[in-house]
Amino acid sequence: MNLSDSKKKLALAGVVCGLVAACLAYFGNPANMAFCIACFIRDTAGAFGMHQAEVVQYARPEIIGLVLGAFIISVATKEYRSTAGSSPMIRFILGMVIMIGALVFLGCPLRMVIRMSAGDLNAWVALIGFVLGVATGVLALKKGFSLGRAYVTNKESGYVLPAIVVGILILSLATSLLKESQTGPGSMHAPVIIALVGGLIFGAFAQKSRMCFAGSIRDVILMKNFDLFSVIAGLFVVMLIFNIATGRFVLGFNTPGIIAHSDHLWNILGMYVVGFAAVLAGGCPLRQLILAGQGSSDAAVTVAGMFVGAALCHNLGLAASGTALNPETKELVAGAVPLNGKVACVICIVVCFIIAFTNKRKETK
């Protein structure tokens, strides 16, 4: 099965993933979130008590499904390769940086597209930052940026992350060890089996189509290649139809209940960080999970960085708050990025520039 050899097949893969996201939203995932890698990693980190934000703690089966879906399909189609050794600690830092940027904006690139399809104009503003971030990463690539080679390693190294997510699934189903939000976004979720199957399908199609949000914009800027962009377009169209058909399409900035804020500059800068760091890491948060599933220990280290980044965001007060209605006064309380988050975002931009312009391919040094 090859989904990446024509734009039509790629768009079809996007449509399938869009349908999965739409189903998850229909069956209970938070409105306008449906499927967000950053949010779901943050929730899973919370389930293990890595942070204490009680409203965002839940071991999301979607994350488990994504990794396992990519693992199973890559083994079945002989694309599984256990590799490691391409600057793992820099990738760990990039994982942290991606997560901090995502939680300043309140979503990964996948959720940005889902929010865009629901009429959230904040996400369209953030897209400006994301494109600029990807463009900066492309500039670094043109200047010879590289994190160096990964090498084929013991098969068992690539099995570690899939084994860990199976462990998370068992713990969440068979024990009461993991924390689970009683209120807030963490308490809103589709039934476990639907979320798990949705994750498996999404993971398999994302692996076969090479779906990557940063990669799609990167390829357009770098090579005027719209292949990966067609996957995103397919997903966007399905979610747009779903949102309009179910009355979830609300055009505007201050939309309470969808976990978003209208701090425009920080929406732009948050996604600038995500776009920039994702190009340097070789893929968006979704792609990192997929690559980790198909055997890349380097991508698994990036995922570990995202978990730590998520914990830091809530432990150090970096994450933005969403616009919400005060339940008592019914007044609109605007969401915002705290000062700590703004400082962290600027530090992340500096870190991206240092990484981008100090790591060069050997022959271009």
């Binding site: 390769r81 050794g85 090579m223």
Partner: protein
Amino acid sequence: MKEVDARGLSCPEPIMLTAEALKGAQGAVKVLVTEPHQKMNVEKYAKDHGKKTHSEEKDGYFEVVIE
């Protein structure tokens, strides 16, 4: 024959190096990559630029010859 050793490099480096090599190449170009999707990307890039390819799986990597 010009050789591009892109084994173990992250996307889009294999394609960037292939494009660079094809620019100044007189004859065939041999590209080495690790991941199956990188092999497909290189083949597709060559096809889009009117070139023929011949690919072979070696020990832990792929060899794509672009002519």
